[in-house]
């Protein structure tokens, strides 16, 4: 713990970062995002299994930054969002001071202790406890044995469904949607200044919480994530209605990986899947 505080303190006092976006524990013992502006502030920074938020969601607002570097505390899953944002011109690498933390998993329910039954799905198949790159690394990791990836089993089950059954499954899930757009607000990749759902002339998406409106919103959001979703699962965490949104985004990530050997947010130099043509791209969809 001291290590993270020390790194942040040093970074702020040595002006390596003009502020640091991190986590602190509030008086109710809840971990929440916190921006440390001074070395004294840094004393409050912390990291543990309850540091669920993907802080990269704050970065696009600094894309025209001219003042000094922005410090950010990231888990390896969050770093993928940072990478993707850099690739999509939402932030510059030079404007960042990245403080990576070794992470051994975060909780699903923030009100409960971290244990085998209270682990986020993404952690169950996470392959990088340490962020692949950083400017400083804090080691907060403890060894922890991950439970089975039960989402993969559910996905295999959905894969086996007929398209009618699948439609029924999703209609039942989307029926819950109340169009609060929390999934969009929390998503680091949803940085558009005016979301397509807010376009009215013409209106692309029915904004009412009807079956049609819900379906078009959730499916279009998923499509906009195709080849872009970095898999932080924040959308599902934020959804107040418990819609398993990551079933869609994870599936698309798996397709991108199996069909194109691509995983978004993994490399700063690899060209993005969307927007890059390669002669070796499969064309079997052209009939």
């Amino acid at each position: 713990m001291n290590e993270l505080k020390q790194i942040c303190k040093d970074a702020l006092s040595e002006k390596k970062a003009r502020f640091i976006i991190g986590y602190k524990e509030d008086k109710n013992k809840r971990i929440k995002p916190f921006i440390a502006k001074t070395p004294e502030d840094a004393e409050q920074l912390t990291f543990n299994h309850h540091a669920v938020n993907n802080l990269a969601v704050y970065l696009p607002r600094f894309k025209n930054n001219v003042e000094g570097k922005i410090g950010i505390v990231v888990k390896s899953c969050d770093l993928k969002a940072v990478t993707a944002l850099i690739q999509e011109n939402q932030i510059k690498r030079d404007d960042l001071f990245i403080i990576g933390v070794n992470c051994s998993g975060v909780v699903l329910d923030i009100a409960k202790e971290f244990n085998k039954d209270n682990t986020q799905i993404k952690c169950k198949y996470c392959q990088a406890k340490t962020p692949p790159y950083y400017d400083a690394l804090a080691d907060e990791s403890k060894d922890f044995e991950m439970p089975d990836d039960d989402q993969a089993e559910l996905m295999a089950k959905i894969d086996k469904m007929t398209s009618d059954e699948r439609l029924e499954f999703w209609n039942a899930e989307f029926e819950k949607c109340i169009k609060c757009y929390a999934c969009r607000q929390v998503c680091p990749m949803c940085y558009c200044e005016k979301c397509i759902v807010e376009k009215s002339e013409p209106q692309w998406i029915d904004t009412s919480s009807t079956a049609r409106g819900n379906f078009s919103w959730n499916i279009i959001r998923a499509f906009h994530m195709a080849g872009r979703c970095i898999g932080c699962h924040e959308c599902e965490r934020a959804c107040p209605m418990g819609i398993p949104l990551t079933l869609l985004t994870r599936k698309m990530g798996m397709v991108a990986s199996s069909e194109f050997g691509y995983r978004h947010g993994m490399s700063l130099t690899e060209p993005t899947l969307i927007g890059t043509y390669s002669t070796s791209d499969k064309e079997d969809f052209i009939k």
């Binding site: 894309k63 001219v66 939402q90 558009c192 005016k194 060209p271 969307i274 927007g275």
Partner: protein, 668 residues
């Protein structure tokens, strides 16, 4: 809005399957439609007059024509409407022919569909906006890449019309492959005799700037406004001082180490050389890979003998930039070298013919050099191995061409003709010799071409054998050619003294790289792609870039010259106006909602998307957004489809127009 609807019968084309009067009647009841009629030929003069008359009498704001594909007559109807006083972009075409009458049989159903198509177009046109053509200034100067006969022709035509030309040639001299040829089919006139005057004309033309030993490095800009960076490779000779006396080449101690490119490796050249005596410009270059000075730091013989002190060993590559309005690509071809194949080549080659292994197996261009008066044998018919006169000669056609399993599936087109010519030249020089030609088919389409081949067979008694050769091997100084006569159905064995392979014409190795520099397309063989195979054969998909000669596909001299002139004419069309008019159908960015992800920039095939900074009044950066360069945008709409926040729209195909169309469909 007052909309006029016009339904064309297209003679019987639409009228046969679509009840046009009924369509017209149905359209009259659509909201906004104040005029509706049908006519047999709407594109004819009387038809157009009906439209004009209706516009004037009923004060129409927009027009919908149900007719053939907009590819055919959209322009016609737009022009007609413009002449009657409404903006030409207030016209929409419903394709009742290709999309309806031609593909359906049932009259009732086709008529119903035609009414639907008309309704979609009527709903769409309500959202159309008057548009003005975009005007772009033109730099009236042309760049020609490649100084072969096609490039020479293009350069001369443009220069003679009074416009400046920059001619870039990668070799030390212009002239291309034509300068290597002995005689030309079908007239047998001497290639150099007809070519060299043209080369000199290029050199002396006040409007042509010749940059030899140079290559195009980088191109930016768009039609009418290109900025081209050209690498001038170091010749190690000061061009402005050299008089072309040739003393340096004569005294150069390196005589045997380098093979002459011009003689296709049949002779040697010194380290400092001009490719051939008639070279233009007549300035030598030093081949640094063989020059003793560049290898050991000693020698300097050429420098010592040069009275003009023109030799400069320290010369470096330099870069020049040229502003031009059009670019003509005339980079030509090369012959399929069947002995040396890159490891990863998909072409399997013809090892069984022994090219590169047997000295007396040569290719067509090498035969040209042997037959040429300026060649290594001074035109005497002597074979390479022992310089004796070959008494039996075998020509093999289609080596690499028309061979999907080993080479290329296309026909190289010129080989039938030049093989007939080779055989003829041989017979003219070796009267008692025997010439055999193995062929698959004789393709001699062209003026006086078939007659020429007949002459070779009938007057010069060349033996044509229809069939392929399976193997060539050497035995007692003879080449044993084993083949098949498919007409007689018999195996053939010929003991030949010399074998000439008509190897395929292939694209230049650097063609794909150049295509990427110029942003033009190329096919799987590396040949550049035309914009339309029939109607736009010299244009590319990039405005202002034209193609000439064999860089497009295998071509003979007359065709290359014609294409050079055609490309020149296309450039001159461009230079005819001071301002270029372009269709206003281009993409437009809504800077207020653009999030600056620049996926549009990644997908744009025309490099038309730029980054634009938006600053407030104090100069503080507000945001960086995408910006469409209207000169480069071709209106393909890819950016429009890619933009996640729908911040790019294609003018003329805006979302509300398309939505209106789709909604009209949903209302059915």
């Amino acid at each position: 809005m007052k909309i006029g609807v016009f339904v064309c019968h297209c003679g019987e084309n639409i009228g046969r399957t679509v009840n046009c009067p009924e369509v017209s009647k149905a359209c009259a009841s659509f909201p906004g439609v104040v005029h509706s009629e049908d006519y047999k030929y709407m594109c004819s003069d009387p038809g157009q007059n009906l439209i004009k008359q209706a516009i004037r009498e009923k004060h129409l704001d927009a027009v919908v024509v149900g007719s053939c594909s907009p590819h055919m007559h959209e322009k016609t109807f737009r022009k007609a409407c413009a002449s009657a006083g409404i903006n030409s972009y207030m016209v929409e075409i419903a394709n009742l022919r290709e999309h309806c009458s031609w593909i359906h049989e049932d009259i009732n159903q086709a008529t119903k569909k035609a009414i639907d198509l008309m309704r979609f177009a009527v709903e769409r046109v309500k959202f159309n906006q008057p548009l003005e053509t975009i005007k772009v200034p033109v730099t009236k100067r042309s760049l020609v890449i490649g100084g072969g006969i096609s490039g020479i022709q293009a350069a001369l035509d443009i220069a003679n019309a009074g416009f400046e030309v920059v001619l870039v040639e990668k070799e030390p001299s212009i002239g291309g492959h034509m300068s290597q040829l002995s005689e030309t089919f079908p007239t047998l006139d001497c290639s150099q005799c007809i070519l060299t005057p043209r080369m000199v004309e290029v050199y002396q033309h006040p409007k042509i700037k010749l940059l030899s030993y140079s290559e195009v490095e980088h191109v930016e800009g768009f039609i009418g406004n290109f900025k081209v960076t050209i690498r001038r490779k170091a010749k190690s000779v000061k061009e402005e001082l050299c008089t072309g006396c040739g003393l340096c080449a004569e005294k150069c101690p390196i005589k045997k180490k380098a093979l002459s490119e011009f003689d296709e490796g049949l002779s040697n050249r010194p380290a400092i050389y001009v490719p051939f005596p008639q070279a233009v410009p007549n300035v030598p270059v030093i081949d640094r890979s063989v020059c003793t000075y560049f290898k050991t730091g000693k020698c300097e013989m050429c420098k010592k003998v040069c009275g003009r002190e023109a030799i400069d060993f320290t010369q470096q590559d330099t870069f020049v930039t040229e502003d031009v309005g059009s670019i003509i690509v005339a980079t030509g071809y090369k012959l399929y070298s069947i002995d040396k194949k890159p490891e990863d080549s998909i072409y399997k080659g013809y090892g069984e013919y022994g090219y590169g292994k047997f000295k007396n197996v040569i290719n067509g261009l090498q035969f040209e050099r042997i037959a040429s008066a300026s060649g290594p044998t001074s035109g005497e018919m002597l074979r390479p191995s022992d310089k004796t006169v070959p008494k039996k000669i075998v020509f093999i056609q289609c080596v690499g061409s028309r061979d999907e399993s080993k080479g290329f599936s296309y026909c190289s087109k010129i080989c039938c003709m030049y093989t007939a010519k080779h055989a003829m030249l041989y017979k003219h020089k070796v009267h008692d010799g025997e010439a055999y030609v193995f062929y698959m088919d004789i393709r001699s389409g062209g003026k006086n071409y078939e007659e020429f081949v007949r002459r070779a067979i009938e007057e010069d008694h060349v033996n044509y054998i229809r069939g392929r050769v399976s193997r060539i091997y050497e035995e007692d100084g003879k080449l044993i050619v084993k083949g098949e006569d498919t007409i007689a159905g018999l195996p053939v064995v010929i003991e030949a003294d010399l074998v000439v392979l008509a190897t395929a014409m292939i694209a230049q190795q650097e063609a794909p790289k150049l295509a990427q520099t110029l942003n033009i397309s190329y096919d799987k063989y590396g040949y550049f792609q035309e914009a339309h195979p029939k109607l736009r054969p010299v244009e590319t998909n990039t405005g202002g870039v034209f193609l000439a000669g064999a860089c497009h596909s295998p071509r003979d001299i007359p065709e290359s010259v014609a294409m050079g002139s055609a490309a020149a004419a296309k450039s001159l069309v461009l230079f005819g106006a001071d301002m270029l008019e372009r269709e206003p159908i281009i993409a437009k960015v809504d800077a207020t909602t653009c999030a600056g992800c620049f996926y549009c920039q990644k997908v744009c095939a025309y490099n038309a998307i730029e980054k634009k900074e938006i600053r407030d009044r104090l100069g503080n950066l507000q945001k960086v957004v995408a910006f469409v360069n209207s000169g480069l945008c071709q209106g393909c709409g890819t950016c429009n489809a890619t933009c996640p926040s729908k911040s790019i729209e294609l003018i003329g195909f805006k979302d509300d127009q398309i939505f209106a169309q789709i909604n009209a469909f949903a209302e059915v």
